[in-house]
Symmetry: C2
C-alpha cells in the first residue's frame, strides 16, 4: 500500500525533514515517535490514555501475537485494530525477526528461515519470511515489516556480510508472499551493523526491491551512540527521498533529535514504558528516578509545564509512593509522562525544522539534558 | 463531625432504608458501596477511572499508610485527598485494627494496645487507640474508625467476651483522643462474632459512647453467609436509626442486597479489585473467570448492557488475552467492570427500596446469579 508519504519541508542545514503520510486513519505527521504495544497493549495504558499522550501510529509485535493469542484469533476479531480497539491511528507490526533473535531459545538459522524454541512454552517453532508476512497479513496492521536477521553485536564482517545477503533474499521472498499489498504497506529493513560498505550494500539492494518504506535495523543492540549515528549516516544517502525512513528500536530523547537530523522520519522504542516500570521519568534536565529518597516530600509534578495527566494531577511524592509500594498506577502515570515527553519532543523538533533552528535546539536540549547528572 | 445523615425512606417490608449524608464534598446517597484504596490508590485505577465507575466515598488503610509513606508525609501533602488527588468524594479510613490482626506478625495484645512486627520490614511497632486516631487525624480522612480488635474465627465465647469489653474501652479512649472532631466523623465498631448476646452488648455499649456512625466488624472473617447475616441481625436493633450503619469488608453482590435488607447503609470490600487481578468478572449470571478457554474467541463484552469503560470498549477475548499475558490493563479493565457492577447494583437496590420491590429484586437477582454454576 502506498502511504502517499510526502516531504513537506527539508531542513537546509541538516538532513531533517517534515513530512506526512496517509492511511484510512487520517494524515500522520513526521517526524513521529511510536509507542510500543508488544502484546497488543502499550503496557499499562488504555486507548484513552494513548489518545491523551497524542500517540498516532503505534507498534505491535508479530512474534508475541503469533505465540499469544495467535494470529487467527486476532484475525477473527477483525484484525489488530478491532482486537485491541485502537482507532486513534495506524498500527505497525515488526516482522518478529528481532524477537526471534533476542528472546527465543536455541536458534537455528537456515536459508529457509529460523528454527527456535518459544520463550514461553519451549515449543519448537519455525519462522520464515513467508510465515512472518502471512502472520502480519492476518494481524491486519497498516504497516508491516520484512523478516530480517538482526545479528548480535559485536559481529564479524564475514558473518554480517552473509547475513545481509540472506536478509535481502528474505526481503524478496517476503515481498512475493505479501497478499495484502493493497491494504498493508510493506517496509524493507537495512542491516549491516557498523560496517559502512555493508550498510550501503544492504540499503541499495533493499531499495532495488521497491518497498513502501525503509527501516534501519540493528542500531540499538549495544553499540555506542557514535556507532549508531554512523550506521544511520551510512544508509540514509541510499534510501529514496520520497519514502519513509524508520529507525527501529530507538527512543532516547537525544537519539530522536540526532536521528531526525540524519534524515529519519519515524521511531519506536519500549524505553518510555520500560523506564516507567523501573520508576524513571524523563525530564528536560535528564532522567530522574522517583525511587530516590529526595522525592518523598516533593509535592511538585515531574515537570511543571508538562500537559500530561500525571503532571496535571499528581506529585512526585505520590508517584514515588506508588512505585515504592508496587502499585501499577505508578508505572501507568510514569508511562503516560514518558510517552508524552517524547511526543512533545517530536512536536518541538517539528517546530524547529519549520524554523530552521534544529541545531540550536539540539545543542540547547543536550546541554540541559546532560547538565545535571542523571540518577 | 456530624455527617447530617438522614433516612429519606424506610422500606415497609424489610429493614432497608434510603438515606444521605453530607460532607464538604457534597451529598452522598446510601446505600453505598465504597471501593478500597489500601495504599492511597484503588489498585490499578486513576481518579478519572474512579469517577467513571461512579465511586463516591472510598476507603483507605491507616495501617498501610502509617507504614508507607507515613502519616506525616500525607499530612505535609495536605492530607489524603491532596496526596492522592481524590476529589470525587469523601475518604474513610479504617483504624488499622483489622490489618494488625490479619497482616502483622507476632502480635502481643495488651490493655494499652498491640505490639507487633511490620509485615514489610519486620520492625517492632505499637498501635493503640490513641495512636490510631492520631494517625487518622494526620491523614485527614473525612470518616475515621475506632481502633478495635478483630478476633479470629472461630473464637471461644470467653475470648470474644473479653475482647469486646476491651474494644469498648479502646473506643472510649479513641474518642477522647480525637482532636479533629469538627472535621472528621468518628465511628464506633461493633464486634462480638457469632454470639448474639455479645453483639447486643457490644452494640449497646458502643452506642452509649455516642459516635457519628456505627460499623459492624468481624463478619467477613471466614464465617458462612448465614452466620454473617445473623451477626448483622443481632446488632442492628441496638443501633440508632439516625446514624450510618457500616458493614465492614463485605462486597459480595448477594451480601450487599442481604445487608441492605438488614438495615446496612454502607459497605466496603477489596473483592472487585482482587477478583479482577485473578481474572474474575462479576456478571448477573454469576462470577466468570476470563482465563477460561471458552473466552478465547468471545468477541462480546463482559456484559452487553454494562456502561463501564471495559464493556463499552473491549471484548472478553481481548481482556482474556491481557490477563493471560500478565498485562496490567487486564486487571484494570476488570477492576473497572467489577466496581461498576457493584455501584450499579447499589443503584438498582436504591430503586427497589423506592419502589418497595426489594424482596422480589433479591429473589430474582439470586436466581440469576446462582443460576449457572460459577466458574
Amino acid at each position: 500500500m502506498d502511504l502517499q508519504f510526502k516531504v513537506i519541508k527539508s531542513d537546509s542545514k541538516t538532513n531533517a525533514r517534515l513530512g506526512e503520510y496517509k492511511t484510512k486513519w487520517g494524515v500522520h505527521k513526521t517526524p513521529m515517535f511510536m509507542p510500543v504495544g508488544t502484546q497488543a497493549t502499550v503496557k499499562t495504558l488504555s486507548t484513552e490514555d494513548l489518545k491523551s499522550v497524542y500517540a498516532d501510529t503505534i507498534l505491535s509485535n508479530t512474534y508475541h501475537l503469533w505465540l499469544r493469542p495467535g494470529e487467527d484469533i486476532v484475525n477473527l476479531a477483525g484484525g489488530l485494530h478491532e482486537f485491541m480497539n485502537y482507532k486513534n491511528g495506524p498500527i505497525l507490526t515488526d516482522s518478529g525477526g528481532y524477537q526471534v533473535f533476542s528472546l527465543a531459545n536455541k536458534k537455528d538459522i537456515h536459508e529457509d528461515g529460523v528454527y527456535f524454541k518459544s520463550h514461553l512454552s519451549g515449543e519448537k517453532l519455525f519462522l520464515s519470511p513467508e510465515k512472518s508476512i502471512e502472520i502480519q497479513n492476518k494481524l491486519g496492521s497498516d504497516i508491516i515489516m520484512s523478516f530480517d536477521e538482526c545479528p548480535p553485536y559485536p559481529c564479524s564482517y564475514e558473518y554480517m556480510s552473509n547475513s545481509i545477503d540472506r536478509t535481502i533474499r528474505w526481503a524478496k521472498r517476503g515481498k512475493l508472499a505479501h497478499k495484502k499489498s493493497e491494504s498493508q504497506a510493506l517496509f524493507g529493513i537495512v542491516q549491516g551493523g557498523e560496517f559502512e560498505d555493508l550498510r550501503k550494500k544492504s540499503a541499495i539492494e533493499t531499495v532495488k526491491l521497491d518497498f513502501d518504506g525503509y527501516s534501519i535495523g540493528g542500531v540499538s543492540v549495544g553499540e555506542s551512540k557514535e556507532i549508531m549515528y554512523k550506521a544511520i549516516d551510512y544508509a540514509v544517502p541510499y534510501l529514496p527521498k520520497d519514502k519513509i525512513r524508520y529507525l527501529m528500536g530507538v527512543g532516547d530523547p537525544i537519539d530522536l533529535i540526532e536521528g531526525v537530523m540524519r534524515g529519519i522520519d519515524i521511531f519506536d522504542c519500549v524505553s518510555p514504558t520500560r523506564l516507567a516500570r523501573h520508576g524513571n521519568a524523563y525530564t528536560r534536565g535528564g532522567k530522574i528516578n522517583l525511587r530516590n529518597n529526595k522525592y518523598k516530600t516533593d509535592f511538585n509534578p515531574i515537570e511543571e509545564d508538562c500537559d500530561c495527566y500525571a503532571c496535571k494531577n499528581h506529585t512526585k511524592a505520590y508517584i514515588r509512593h506508588l512505585i515504592v509500594s508496587d502499585e501499577t498506577l505508578g508505572s501507568r502515570l510514569l508511562s503516560i509522562h514518558n510517552i508524552r515527553f517524547l511526543t512533545k519532543l517530536i512536536e518541538d523538533i517539528r517546530i524547529h525544522i519549520e524554523d530552521e533552528t534544529l541545531i540550536e535546539f539540539r545543542d540547547d536540549f543536550k546541554t540541559k539534558y546532560y547538565g545535571e547528572k542523571n540518577e
